[in-house]
């Protein structure tokens, strides 16, 4: 279909406000609307009860399905998945270094099918409603840039269906595996973010590791997204130092810490760091761990830290789990933090949409608005809260106005 071609997406259910009883929010009001889609954007929104627009544009009937903002998968490794290939459980390994050792043998074996598996995974993620993907991609002495090349070919196949970011990820340690040259090369070849992993425990030198990350990022005018699993003092020190460097480099709004487990530690220090992250626009990405370690995600959000969610491993040598479904992540988050009322369920959606929710805190519709990119999910639900709690089935996914998964 020609992207410029305009059409009407008719009978779309949009949220229009909260229903209140005795001051308490007990439900969500919705209305059926017709949306005019043109050049990938929403250019007009009409209430359906005014009848059909009197023009000759083609119409596609959404038949009352709920429109949700499309999801963002903010942390995944599409280069390392087994998905789409034969089943393989996780082998016992001796910690993170054992895993890295395992990669020396495993990655070359996976390489010939890396693109194919990445494509299958993208198809899965897209089908669930994610039209933006930030993938980490191994940059290491074993595979060099070949995983990234496979990743880029896979993403090319999905051009026009989703947008993406690629993090050049020195899994074996930026310093430890002497990967700075490779990462620099990756940035030249199209990576959008500089990655890293545990400057304290993997690289053994917080200062030099972070400094190298920031140097490369500034050189390449690129964002930063580093894995920090380190907990306690070393994790906090890493993130605190990263905050300093973000400020020095003027890299506000361009830095992400993935996992950021140290926030689950000492509450006072965590709160202080959360304030700094909020003021520097440093975002965090979480997989929503739910057992031994629990992140204070609601508190961090309330302090203004931007939080994204990711599926991370989807059946790979690190973890056999992972569904690829961001809505399920949001649902898990809501369940974990006891978001059970209408408003907090609806707001949980913001964790997987880059903060976009149909209603604002007062119940005014803020999405979709005329001019918004037509990136959306059509779900079988009566409102966002239901969609999150019940992980509503999704009928179709729109990216820049095109149906890129499912059908109407």
């Amino acid at each position: 279909m020609n992207a410029a071609k305009a059409y009407w997406l008719t009978n779309v259910r949009l949220e229009s406000g909260y229903r209140r009883e005795e001051g308490a929010i007990v439900g969500t009001e919705t209305e059926l609307c017709h949306l005019r889609i043109e050049n990938g954007k929403i250019t007009e929104i009409l209430a359906a009860d005014g009848g059909f627009p009197k023009d000759e544009l083609p119409r596609r009937d959404a038949k009352g399905l709920l429109l949700l903002p499309a999801f963002k998968e903010m942390h995944i490794h599409i280069d390392k998945t087994y998905y789409g290939g034969p089943w393989r459980a996780v082998r016992p390994a001796n910690g993170v270094f054992g895993r890295i050792e395992e990669e020396r043998e495993l990655l070359p074996k996976l390489l010939p099918t890396a693109q194919e598996r990445a494509e299958k995974l993208l198809e899965l993620v897209l089908g669930f409603g994610s039209t933006h993907v930030r993938t980490h991609c191994n940059i290491d002495p074993v595979v060099g840039l070949r995983n990234m090349e496979a990743t880029m070919r896979a993403l090319d196949t999905f051009s026009g269906k989703l947008s993406h970011e690629i993090v050049a990820f020195p899994q074996h340690g930026l310093l430890r595996s002497d990967a700075a040259v490779l990462v620099r090369e990756a940035m030249r070849q199209g990576a959008t973010h500089v990655g890293a992993v545990d400057p304290a425990t993997v690289d053994g030198d917080i200062e030099r590791s972070l400094q190298t990350v920031m140097d490369i990022a500034v050189e390449a005018d690129a964002g930063v997204d580093i894995h920090v699993h380190d907990q306690g003092g070393s994790g906090l020190a890493t993130m605190s130092r990263l905050a300093d460097m973000t400020e020095q480099a003027g890299w506000q709004g361009r830095v992400t810490v993935s996992h950021a487990f140290a926030f689950a530690g000492e509450p006072e220090a965590a709160a202080e760091l959360a304030d700094r992250f909020a003021s520097l626009g440093i975002s965090i990405t979480s997989t929503v761990p739910f057992g031994g370690l629990i992140m204070p995600l609601p508190t961090m959000r309330d302090k203004g830290v931007r939080i994204g969610l990711g599926n991370d491993s989807i059946t790979d040598h690190w973890s056999p789990f992972g569904t690829g479904d961001c809505l399920m992540k949001a649902s898990r988050l809501a369940e974990l933090y006891r978001f059970v009322d209408e408003r907090s369920l609806g707001e949980a959606l913001g964790f997987i949409t880059g903060g976009v929710t149909p209603l604002d805190a007062d119940g005014n519709r803020v999405w979709p608005a005329v001019g918004d990119s037509a990136d959306a999910v059509l779900a079988q639900a009566s409102c966002s809260a239901e969609a999150v709690a019940r992980r509503a089935p999704r009928q179709a996914v729109l990216f820049r106005g095109e149906i890129v998964a499912g059908t109407l």
């Binding site: 057992g291 789990f321 709690a389 992980r391």
Partner: protein, 470 residues
């Protein structure tokens, strides 16, 4: 040979693949299973199939599935859509001549048993949903979130006032949930049913009617559950009556917090159980000292009554508060009284340490608990997914750990034992199976494999084997 047929090309696990002593994979093979009177009568390797089985005979299969359908209808397991998928299959394989020839061959041999082709799907023992509330669910009714409640007692009121106002009947909602449970693969369900003075036995009656419409598709046990407190709501009489009217277990909830007198509450619960020769399943959310003491006393009472193996504690949050040597003591106590710990695998830190308990011989089982009700808007009704969550929660990632996880939703049955010997299915086992799109149990658990069909006592009771694309 009534109700007999061959189930062809079923994938069964046959052993472990080992590498340097670690289990790194699972061996499987295809088998034909002769099903008779709801049980597995014979298991033969597909490669050594007896002469009378001609699995490649699509026509024969088609001609004979009619007989299987008739058999299913007689056990109440027929699905209207099967006819349609059968037609699709005929179209898809419509190689005219060959089909006719084989169909003719099938008819010629009147002695040949009907055949159903599982086409390589993995068979798992069907699941047990060990903890749910069929009377509480709002499924099938319109969406509504959970209303904030200041206390447990306010929650009781909200629920009590909500249920009678719904546009759907309790029977309808319970049926919607049962269909969901069955589709996920649960062919046995333990449901609690609320008993309190304002509703009398009405919830029980509605749930029993719903279960009656699933007769032949699954089995169920009902727990007589005095949700508002056995003592607090003075419901002993109701519980006694419910036990007479078909409940198999006595329930209860937080004898300390809700009833305010753990000793008397536990005593009364056990007396009701012994009187009715019923099992026990206590909701215990009380944590810390209070919860642990409740479990200790319950174990004592169970042993005194000779009720070993007949008592469950659901939730058992207190077991996450055990300190030091107490953990070994509690595990020993639970194992001795053979008390089953049932968990819904709640998200968060507070849940029983299942790996620790399991290693010490304490039985543990998983149930979904709340599935969209006045207490929680979540819950999928898929106990298999819950088992996957259990594995994820405790970091069970290896082939062996994942495969063993299955036991928590099958009453301990797994296809292979610890040493990789095939122990399920065996001839004589009930033909209650879940057909999964997976290469082995471990994959199925980790990847929440799709389950195209569920079989209960020889009849397909959810999904279908016929519409499957190979």
């Amino acid at each position: 040979m009534a109700n007999a047929y061959w189930l062809l090309n079923v994938r069964l696990e046959t052993g472990h693949e080992l590498e340097n002593g670690d289990v790194t994979g699972t061996k499987t093979d295809l088998f034909h299973l002769r099903i008779e009177e709801g049980a597995i009568a014979e298991i033969v390797r597909a490669a050594d199939r007896p002469d009378e089985i001609k699995p490649e005979g699509l026509g024969a299969g088609k001609a004979s599935t009619g007989k299987v359908r008739a058999m299913e209808a007689s056990t109440g397991g027929v699905r209207a859509e099967k006819a349609r998928t059968g037609e699709e299959k005929a179209e898809g394989t419509g190689a005219g001549e060959a089909l006719a020839e084989k169909a003719g061959a099938g008819e010629a041999n009147a002695e040949a048993l009907p055949q159903v082709d599982a086409r390589g799907l993995l068979a798992l023992p069907s699941f047990i949903e060990k903890h749910c509330h069929l009377d509480k669910t709002l499924l099938g009714d319109r969406w509504r979130p959970v209303r904030p409640a200041a206390s447990l007692f306010e929650r009781f009121e909200i629920e009590k006032n909500t249920l009678p106002t719904l546009a759907t009947t309790m029977k309808e909602r319970a049926e919607t949930l049962l269909a969901l449970l069955l589709r996920a693969g649960s062919t046995h369900v333990r449901t609690h049913v609320d008993l309190y003075p304002e509703v009398g036995l009405r919830h029980l009656e509605a749930v029993q009617e719903a279960l009656a419409s699933f007769d032949g598709k699954l089995t169920a046990k009902i727990v007589a559950f005095p949700q508002h407190g056995l003592l607090r709501s003075q419901s002993a009489g109701l519980v006694r009556e419910a036990l007479r009217q078909g409940c198999g277990l006595v329930g209860g909830v937080d004898p300390h917090t809700v009833d305010g007198d753990a000793e008397r509450s536990l005593q009364q619960m056990m007396e009701l159980a012994v009187e009715a020769n019923a099992d026990v399943d206590l909701h215990l959310h009380d944590g810390g000292r209070v919860g642990l003491d409740t479990i200790r006393r319950l174990a004592q009472l169970a042993e005194e009554a000779g009720w070993q193996g007949r008592v469950s504690v659901s939730h058992a949050f207190a077991l996450s508060d055990m300190e030091g040597g107490e953990a070994e003591e509690m595990a020993g106590l639970l194992a001795r009284a053979d008390i089953t710990v049932i968990t819904s695998v709640p998200l968060g830190r507070t849940m029983p340490p299942v790996p620790f308990l399991h290693a010490r011989g304490v039985r543990a089982a998983v149930g979904c608990d709340n599935i969209f009700d006045s207490w929680s808007p979540f819950g999928s009704g898929d106990v298999f997914e819950r088992a996957g969550r259990l594995a994820e929660r405790f970091g069970w990632k290896t082939e062996r750990e994942l495969a063993e996880t299955l036991g928590f939703i099958t009453g301990g049955v797994t296809p292979l034992d610890k040493d990789g010997r095939q122990v399920w299915p065996k001839p004589g086992d009930e033909a209650s199976l879940v057909f999964a799109e997976a290469s082995c149990s471990a994959e199925a658990v980790a990847r929440r494999a799709k389950r195209p069909a569920v079989m209960h006592r020889g009849a397909i009771v959810a999904g279908s084997l016929e519409g499957r694309s190979v």
